[in-house]
């Protein structure tokens, strides 16, 4: 069967997620400095403005015990796996490793790289507020981003002008808008693209040169707009939770014994990565960056509105539920993750109140496909009211 135009482009994105090192090294061969980052709170625009390409450190899903003598067992498998990448020297080609103070687990994965994997002299930790809704958080971030900018200028031996930053902001915003348009296809009853494919493209965008990514994304969207929807539509499932770069789980959702579709993912490896914009054409670029990043869908580790203790992310989730109309919700988080399950306790009653059935899946380095399949099929049976 002839492949559709969109399939060919999706395959190119899939090739990036399947071969991230090969792809990143090809950028380096073109003369780019590469900066690995471990958390999406890193303002990639500053790196990009200096001519560097930010590459997200992803895990390999290889069962291993190496990191157990560097990190405590009760840290999440994603952080272990990312630390493992450093200890295995899989990313030795990176020129720099950066993170922002985010959850403790990923912070420690970063520390393993710095202490034990040879990155001590080529690393930077950006102090980032742990509660993003405090009034003074913006000012703090401007100062913090300023220090980061200075470090990068020295590191890349290039001064970063306001024009450089503005260009980077626009490239990144363009990327965010395109990704958003892609996800919005999934609002349809018969979208021309599947959820797992959208997740793949989104993950690929986190390691790609954004200009190259934007060109591909634009072509993909144009072709999808001209293509008919994929039938039949099944039970619509939304995922909400923590970092998950194991795309097999999303494929599984679409390959149950019942017809089901993945229609949204609220996580930092999917929509939380890009569902915001940095204000453009502002005189103070660092202030604009701070404003943009503070306006993100909050990571559960940083979400606490002063005065009420409200979790702002829940508002976004309720909006996504309204827009994407899921029949069921899958709470998906890393085993040993602290903030995600704490949120599920409070989020589940809200989802229940909306009359949406849900289930919880706890991720580890490897995925127990059979167990997950049973749980997901049970969820679909509840939704479809299938008699036992």
């Amino acid at each position: 069967m002839m492949k559709k135009g969109s399939d060919t482009i999706i395959e190119r994105f899939r090739h990036v997620t399947d071969n991230t090192h090969e792809y990143a090294k090809s950028l380096q061969e073109k003369g780019h400095l590469l900066a690995g980052y471990m958390c999406t709170h890193v303002p990639e625009e500053i790196l990009y403005a200096a001519g560097m390409i930010p590459v997200r450190i992803l895990s390999s899903h290889v069962s291993q015990a190496t990191t157990r003598s560097y990190m405590h067992e009760t840290y999440c498998s994603f952080s272990h796996d990312c630390a493992y990448q450093g200890l295995q020297h899989n990313y030795d080609y990176l020129d720099l490793i950066v993170t922002s103070s985010s959850c403790i687990h990923m912070g420690e994965a970063f520390n393993v790289w710095v202490r034990f994997a040879g990155f001590q002299q080529k690393s930077f930790l950006i102090p980032y507020p742990h509660i993003i809704q405090t009034k003074p958080a913006g000012g703090f971030m401007v100062e913090s981003f300023g220090e980061f900018k200075q470090f990068i200028e020295k590191f890349a031996k290039k001064s970063i002008t306001d024009d450089d930053l503005e260009r980077a902001i626009k490239v990144y915003n363009h990327n965010r808008r395109l990704l958003k348009r892609l996800w919005e296809f999934l609002r349809r009853d018969h979208p021309p693209i599947t959820g797992p494919d959208v997740a793949t493209v989104t993950l690929a965008s986190q390691v790609m040169d954004k200009q190259e990514c934007n060109k591909l994304l634009k072509r993909l969207i144009q072709r999808l707009e001209a293509e008919p929807g994929k039938a039949p539509s099944g039970v619509r499932l939304m995922v909400t939770g923590g970092a998950c770069d194991d795309l097999r789980i999303f494929d599984l959702i679409e390959h149950l014994n019942y017809s089901s579709n993945l229609i949204f993912i609220d996580s930092c490896t999917a929509t939380r990565y890009f569902w915001f914009e940095v204000p453009e054409d502002r005189p103070d670029k660092l202030k604009a960056l701070a404003e943009g990043y503070l306006g993100r869908i909050p990571c559960p580790a940083k979400d606490n509105v002063p005065g009420t203790g409200e979790k702002k992310r829940f508002r976004f989730i309720q909006q996504f539920i309204e827009d994407f109309k899921p029949d069921g919700v899958v709470f998906l988080y890393q085993r040993f993750c602290s903030p995600q399950p704490m949120d599920v306790v409070a989020l589940k009653p809200i989802v229940d109140k909306l009359g949406i059935p849900s289930t919880e899946l706890e991720l580890d380095t490897t995925i127990p496909i059979t167990q997950f399949r049973t749980q997901l099929e049970a969820l679909v049976e509840i939704i479809k009211r299938v008699a036992p």
Binding site: M71, P339, P341
Partner: protein, 438 residues
């Protein structure tokens, strides 16, 4: 002969009084939150503010009511909290779920006393989520969490100090709004000086353990350290710590100790495992091994010189320095408080592996340690779990080192037989090391 602290009764009495006031006060304000917070700002609201802190309350409940605390943890898990979540958090939330509360004097009160507000901190990924959950379960208690963006040397970074100060200042305005009370800077400043004084006095008391024999052991340290006092902002707490300081100085002068058999001096990095597992302490005590210095009891709420010229120092600060602090304005008092709190060693180590290593190195040297005992807690993120794993790699070739697989309050997570064998091995290692060095 073991020395018996004369100030002990006064400490316990004060602690129980604070808890009883929170439980039974018929008027005034009930305030809840982490004792890892600056407490003095609450006191600007009046002289009828009753505080309950999270961690020390959970710790003392685990010690006072082991069975109840297990029920609390189970209740919290039954209500949806994860098996891997902080056990202090679960114990605390479990009491809310079970609608009863136990305090250090042995009282168990049916009907959980609802706080008027929550004033707390955030640093690890669970810290303020703890109180978000309590607030939610109690129907939406107003809550203000301060982002303590600590980490190695933070108290000397103007960017961080200003950020924390601005949040406290904003928090005071919130306190006024949410309580409808007029805020008294006079009361706040008085409380701030008391709070700083207690923390500095505590640093001085700890520093006396450099002597041999060390006057205090870990069991006393954990019971006497400022968070255990519940409220460290009052004149009475200052008097109690001054009295303790004098008493411990006297012990040093006369060569006395609460645990005089100290063949081996241990430096300890971890939350108090002895609450859930006195077996460990017993093995060490029988072998004449005492924990004489511990980052948790010294530095969770206590102040030292910290990083000086790029090197960590456990030297205490002069208590007289506190009397000279210019706290004439609200901002000055906030700034002094923010610096003192950001200077707590436990903040420094949470996100700064280098600070943690420096602290350990300095503590081992300054306290002439024979062994390093690491007890990462399975459920505490801020207990430097990873730092400890890394530290074991670094220190094991320098000094006898062991690492427990432990938890601060959840006995299900402790490898007790393994820890007992490790403890015995640790004692043998220290003996062999001593003989080799002799």
């Amino acid at each position: 002969m073991a020395y018996s602290l004369t100030t002990w009764g006064e400490f316990k009495n004060y602690q129980s009084t604070c808890y009883r006031n929170y439980l039974y006060a018929s008027e005034g304000l009930r305030c809840m939150g982490s004792t890892w917070s600056v407490l003095a700002p609450l006191k600007g609201l009046g002289e009828d503010v009753h505080i309950i802190g999270g961690e020390p309350h959970a710790a003392s409940t685990a010690g006072t009511f082991p069975e109840e605390s297990r029920e609390d943890i189970s209740a919290a898990e039954g209500a949806g909290l994860g098996f891997h979540s902080c056990s202090y958090l679960k114990l605390f939330v479990g009491e809310v779920v079970r609608d009863k509360i136990g305090i250090t004097d042995g009282t168990i009160k049916e009907g959980y006393p609802k706080p008027d507000l929550i004033w707390t901190t955030h640093l690890c990924s669970q810290h303020s989520k703890w109180y978000q959950e309590v607030s939610r379960r109690l129907g939406g208690i107003p809550m203000y969490a301060i982002d303590m963006i600590g980490g190695g040397n933070a108290e000397k970074d103007p960017k961080i100090v200003n950020y924390v100060c601005d949040q406290i200042e904003e928090g005071i305005r919130w306190l006024e709004r949410v309580t409808g009370r007029e805020y008294s800077d006079e009361l706040f400043i008085k409380a701030a000086r008391n709070e700083i004084k207690c923390l500095v006095l505590w640093g001085n008391i700890c520093a006396l353990n450099r002597h041999a024999p060390a006057p205090l052991d870990e069991r006393r340290l954990i019971a006497l350290f400022p968070p255990a006092m519940v409220d460290r902002t009052t004149d009475r707490t200052v008097r109690i710590y001054e009295a303790l300081f004098e008493e411990v100085k006297y012990m040093v002068e006369t060569g006395q100790s609460v645990a005089p058999d100290q063949r081996y001096r241990i430096v300890y990095f971890g939350i108090a495992h002895t609450y859930g597992h006195p077996e460990m302490a017993r093995i060490l005590r029988d072998a004449g091994a005492e924990i004489v210095a511990s980052v948790y009891t010294f530095g969770t709420a206590g102040n030292f010189r910290g990083i000086v010229n790029g090197k960590w120092s456990w030297d205490p600060l002069d208590p007289a320095w506190v009397d000279e602090l210019d706290l004439s304005t609200r901002r000055n008092a906030i700034s002094a408080l923010a610096k003192i709190v950001l200077g707590w060693p436990t903040w420094q180590g949470v996100r700064s592996y280098w600070a943690l290593e420096q602290m350990a190195r300095a503590m081992i040297t300054e306290y002439k340690a024979d062994g390093l005992l690491l007890a990462p807690s399975r459920s505490c993120e801020t207990d430097f779990r990873n730092g400890y794993v890394g530290m074991q790699r670094i220190f094991k070739s320098e000094i006898p080192t062991i690492e427990y697989d432990s938890d601060q309050a959840d006995v299900r997570k402790m490898d007790l037989p393994g820890a007992q064998r490790k403890t015995e091995l640790f004692v043998h290692l220290m003996e062999a090391h001593k003989r080799r060095s002799a």
